[in-house]
């Protein structure tokens, strides 16, 4: 068999595999959207849920998902930024660093339901915080940190060494070089990673069932003082998210149209995650052009 022929066959097979992957994805998306979108309406997106049957709109859940996401990111971005910079630039190549790396790896492979149970036992029960936004955010942070740290470390390490030498040779300190020269170059990659992880956090259910809870008490959207019990910003109230809601409607929903409700909620969830992915691309490219001043 000639080289040309082998090449041809290999190309065909690879193309087929790619087509299969894309095909499965399109089928999945189309199925969920076609099943769900007809049932999505403005009142569904903003309405409240009947606590007993699970019927009604998903307004509160949608808000909870975003609020939890913001809180999670507020906690995990600074920590993983510090850890990523440390690992990429300061950590010596020794046993301690490899221990840290293995710890991060183990953390990233923990099943999310285990993380959720841990959060339940420690924060909800032991610290008596109860099912709350903050318990959920901390559980999600555990699950988010390793991936973000990895992403930040890799983005920083991908910046050529000679950029660091350039900074140092101009008399800049290592820290100044890192923050002013290396970080901006790595920023598009870091932001892309953050937005992608936001998509994952947004769709996460297992880690939240026992931490943020499965109830979405109706909140008073006119009250934005985080200290008030009825305020949507109160971090100590239970907060069922969209993903948890889908799970719940499907397992114990008593509404007559439970399957329609979950299909509609799934469509909304999928669209949100797709928007995160799209956003990651757009934002990454935009930032890259901004920091490098290339039009």
């Amino acid at each position: 068999m000639g080289a040309k022929r082998t090449d041809f066959i290999a190309t065909v097979i690879i193309n087929l595999i790619v087509a299969a992957v894309v095909g499965i994805l399109i089928f999945l998306l189309a199925y969920i959207l076609i099943a769900g979108l007809p049932h999505v309406s403005w009142s569904f997106l903003t309405g409240t849920t009947d606590a007993f049957s699970g019927a009604g709109g998903i307004g509160v859940q949608l808000f909870n998902s975003f609020y939890l996401l913001v809180l999670t990111m507020l906690i995990s971005i600074p920590i993983s930024l510090g850890a990523g910079i440390y690992l990429a630039e300061y950590a010596k190549d020794n046993w301690r660093t490899s221990l840290i790396r293995s710890a991060i790896e183990v953390l990233s492979s923990l099943p999310s339901v285990v993380v959720g149970l841990f959060g339940f036992l420690l924060f909800v029960v032991k610290f008596k915080i109860g099912f709350s936004v903050i318990s959920g955010a901390i559980a999600l942070t555990f699950f988010n940190l390793p991936l973000l740290t990895r992403n930040i470390e890799e983005s920083l390490s991908a910046v050529p060494r000679n950029q660091r030498e350039a900074g140092l040779s101009l008399g800049l300190s290592k820290w100044k070089t890192e923050i002013g020269i290396i970080l901006p170059v790595a920023l598009p990659g870091i932001v892309t990673g953050i937005v992608l992880s936001a998509g994952r956090v947004f769709g996460e259910a297992a880690a939240l069932i026992y931490t943020a809870g499965q109830s979405a008490p109706v909140t008073n959207f006119a009250d934005w003082n985080p200290m008030d019990a009825a305020s949507p910003l109160n971090p100590f109230r239970p907060a069922e998210t969209l993903a948890v809601h889908i799970w719940k409607v499907n397992t114990e929903g008593l509404a007559s149209n439970a399957s329609q409700l979950s299909a509609a909620a799934s469509a909304v969830l999928i669209i949100a995650v797709l928007l995160f992915n799209l956003g990651a691309r757009v934002l990454g490219n935009f930032l890259y052009r901004r920091v490098t001043a290339s039009k």
């Binding site: 901006p184 170059v185 001043a293």
Partner: protein
């Protein structure tokens, strides 16, 4: 098989007689762990002149050059003295950031920052506390003129430096260094990634710059050393074998190693 040359037989002039020296090393030794990469280098560099460092690959030119502004900190162990304005800057307690502002460096591969042309020059200046807009503008212009790049980029200072050609990027790196108003400029094979026309431009730039700066340049290109330098040091396997006026070295090399290297029958 590599010819053996005696490291005892060297011809190293001091150049300290009638010119003042910008800097000088005494018994400089460099170790990469157990690898003794530089032995006893005693070289003095006359002010406002260009000194070339030549030698085969791996002979220790970069190792030596990078020691001069402490860029080997954290990479190699450097012992001996590096005299600069009567201070031994190889002491552990000197401020290396300060040193590097006085002794600038340009690398083999152009390494502009992923920023605009203007930002490339002013970033380090701002970090050093120069805030005045007029002063910064002025430094951008003078340094770009000094590096013979001004005419080519004066209308596009806010464009990305990464969009420049390799030769322009290298001249931008030179401009970035001289904007710090250093005393000494170290260049490690600055033209090896450039085409002949860009190389000529950089060489012309250096010949102009020696009026204000003392320049030490590593080069693989002997024609280049002959064209730009006043004196020339020949490195071999971590030893300085010969350090003589460039004209002498190329017309009348003093020791067999240099003779062979220059005539191309080396190794």
């Amino acid at each position: 098989m590599l010819k053996q040359y005696s490291f005892e037989k060297t011809a190293v002039q001091t150049f300290a007689g009638n010119v003042s020296l910008a800097m000088r090393t005494e018994n400089l030794q460099v170790f990469y762990g157990a690898n003794h990469a530089m032995h006893d280098a005693d070289l003095g560099f006359p002010k406002n002149q260009i000194t070339a460092l030549i030698g085969a690959s791996g002979s220790g030119k970069s190792t030596y050059l990078r020691s001069l502004n402490r860029m080997n900190d954290g990479i190699a162990t450097v012992t001996g003295k590096i005299w600069y304005h009567d201070v031994d800057i190889n002491e552990p307690n000197v401020n290396i950031y300060e040193i590097r502002r006085h002794i600038g460096m340009v690398f083999q591969r152009p390494n502009p920052f992923a920023k605009s042309i203007r930002e490339n020059i002013v970033y380090a200046l701002k970090a050093n506390g120069i805030k005045g807009k007029a002063e910064l503008e002025e430094r951008v212009e003078t340094s770009l003129k000094g590096a013979a790049l001004w005419d080519e980029v004066k209308d596009s200072l806010d464009k990305s430096a990464l969009a420049l050609s390799g030769g322009q990027q290298q001249r931008l790196c030179i401009a970035r260094s001289i904007a710090m108003e250093p005393d000494v400029l170290l260049l490690d094979e600055p033209c090896s990634a450039l085409d002949p026309i860009s190389t000529v431009k950089v060489e012309e730039t250096l010949l102009q710059l020696q009026k204000k700066y003392s320049i030490i340049i590593v080069t693989h290109n002997m024609q280049q050393a002959a064209r730009v330098s006043s004196q020339c040091a020949f490195f071999h396997l971590g030893h300085v074998m010969e350090y003589t006026p460039t004209a002498t070295m190329f017309s009348n090399p003093q020791i067999p190693a240099t003779q062979d290297y220059i005539s191309g029958s080396f190794g």
